[in-house]
């Protein structure tokens, strides 16, 4: 499955991406091609730069240097380079790349439906009627249509996170980024969120997801990246990376994560 698109031009091209916070270099030269339909899981120890990498992809963080190519956007953060995004390009790029966070971040003063239609109306300039129709169809799909007039505080964590995913999908993004979207959930609510992400993957949505759910990464992912100290230490099919780790660092990391969730998993 992973090979289908590899002959075509990549959807997302990253070259020599660096990101520093002051003297602390978090990303130390990431180069990567993402093709349409790839489901890339990103694993790695805390502090290895996984979130920072995702946040650089939709420019929530400004890279210190590097090159990035996505659809009609080509940005170059090399020192003195002039191809940095304008504020308008920043918004346009983010509208094409959906991002979902660990803390669902639904807007508490809006109902579920209002949360979902807000960006299509304000950013895509979609007529309200159409935005509502599309939002209702999305909410039907995740079984939360009945809750469309409820406020987020009345929903469970798993429901809130699924609404957050649908809110991003309502922008019809080309790529979805998920940053540990199940980490804040009670174990019994993890499944419904993973099921939704799995169904998006099955539809061919291109996505990058930071996750500690190794079983999910193997089942749904087409490719796994192991981040270590701000570089991609291993890159390959999930079965190779997770099933047959080559480096000692990765073996250590897997031993740690595979043992903790196993203990947790027994309660679920």
């Amino acid at each position: 499955m992973a090979q289908i698109a590899t002959a075509a031009a990549p959807l997302l091209k990253i070259r020599k991406l660096h990101k520093s916070y002051g003297a602390n270099e978090v990303l130390k030269g990431i180069s990567l091609d993402i093709h349409e339909g790839e489901v890339v899981s990103i694993i790695g120890a805390s502090g290895s730069g996984k979130s920072t990498f995702l946040r650089c992809l939709n420019l929530m963080e400004t890279p210190t240097s590097g090159f990035m190519d996505f659809e009609r956007f080509a940005f170059d953060y090399e020192q003195g380079a002039r191809r940095q995004p304008t504020p308008q390009q920043l918004c346009a790029l983010r509208a094409r790349i959906g991002m979902v966070f660990q803390s669902y971040n639904l807007w508490p003063h809006m109902t579920v439906l209002e949360n979902v239609i807000e960006a299509p109306i304000q950013v895509r300039r979609m007529p309200r009627r159409q935005a509502v129709a599309e939002a209702e169809a999305l909410l039907q799909r995740i079984g939360l249509y009945e809750k469309r007039h409820a406020y987020p505080s009345k929903l469970s964590g798993g429901q809130q996170q699924r609404v957050a995913i649908v809110r991003a999908l309502a922008m019809a993004p080309k790529v979805m980024l998920f940053d540990e979207v199940t980490s804040a959930l009670d174990p019994e609510l993890v499944g419904e969120v993973l099921a939704l992400i799995g169904s998006l993957a099955a539809e061919g949505m291109t996505m990058l997801l930071v996750t500690h759910e190794m079983a999910f990464a193997r089942d749904v992912g087409t490719r796994t990246l192991f981040f270590d100290g701000g570089v991609i230490a291993e890159d390959g099919p999930p079965d190779d990376i997770i099933g047959a780790p080559r480096s000692e660092r990765l073996r250590q990391f897997l031993r740690r994560v595979l043992h903790q969730p196993a203990a947790l998993g027994e309660t679920a």
Partner: protein
């Protein structure tokens, strides 16, 4: 008290209401008008002050800080005098009521600015990030996502400020605006009955501020239900 005395008291009271009622009504309308206008001015000043303090442009930050610092550190009465008596000296002559509205509004605006600033700081970073990640520009994010939440959060504080605004209109009695306090003073000058007239004025102030408190409680219940 005998029935005759009670009747007598009632007749006098109704007489007085007929005599002084219209004056109290128009003085109360002045209080209401000045309050509403100065609150609107204070919200504009407060929003500009709060956003100014967060500006990335240092001179704007400095200006906003100076504004809040100056207003909070000086008596409101002196601020009223500066606008009404002081400004003409530099060529800006305002009617008493306009000067009063500007002075009270700008003054209250500094307190509103601090309230809004605290409200902005209390909005979780994730609220802003999720808006930006969907491609909203900073203006839409502010208007649609951040400020509505800030407004709900600070509504009780804003109501307290509105109650102060009602009471502070009495300061304008010193610059010839015939609001409640000055009206009472004028009537006392001819009737020599300070107790009656100040108590009457006080009761009207109390009525207005109590309505605001009720309104605040209503909003708090309403928004508590919504989120």
């Amino acid at each position: 008290m005998s029935v005759a005395a009670l009747q007598d008291w009632w007749l006098t009271l109704s007489d007085e209401v007929v005599t002084y009622g219209p004056g109290f009504v128009s003085a109360t309308l002045v209080v209401l008008g000045v309050t509403v206008a100065s609150i609107l001015v204070s919200w504009v000043c407060g929003l500009l002050g709060a956003l100014g303090k967060r500006s990335s442009f240092a001179p704007v930050r400095a200006l906003a800080s100076f504004y809040v610092w100056f207003i909070r550190g000086t008596p409101t009465l002196v601020q009223v005098f500066i606008v009404y008596f002081g400004m003409p000296q530099i060529g800006v002559k305002l009617s008493p009521i306009t000067a009063g509205i500007i002075a009270l509004g700008v003054s209250s605006g500094a307190y509103v600015a601090e309230t809004i600033r605290a409200g902005l700081a209390a909005i979780p970073r994730g609220q802003v990030e999720s808006a930006l990640a969907l491609g909203m520009n900073p203006r839409i994010m502010m208007v649609r996502i951040v400020l509505p939440q800030v407004f709900r959060m600070i509504l009780p504080a804003l109501t307290n400020e509105a109650i102060s605004a009602v009471k502070n209109t009495s300061l304008l009695s010193t610059i010839t605006v015939v609001e409640l306090t000055l009206y009472a003073q004028l009537m006392i000058a001819t009737t020599f009955r300070p107790f009656d007239f100040y108590i009457a004025a006080a009761l009207i102030y109390l009525g207005l501020t109590s309505i605001l408190s009720q309104l605040s409680a209503f909003f708090e219940r309403r928004y508590a239900r919504l989120s």
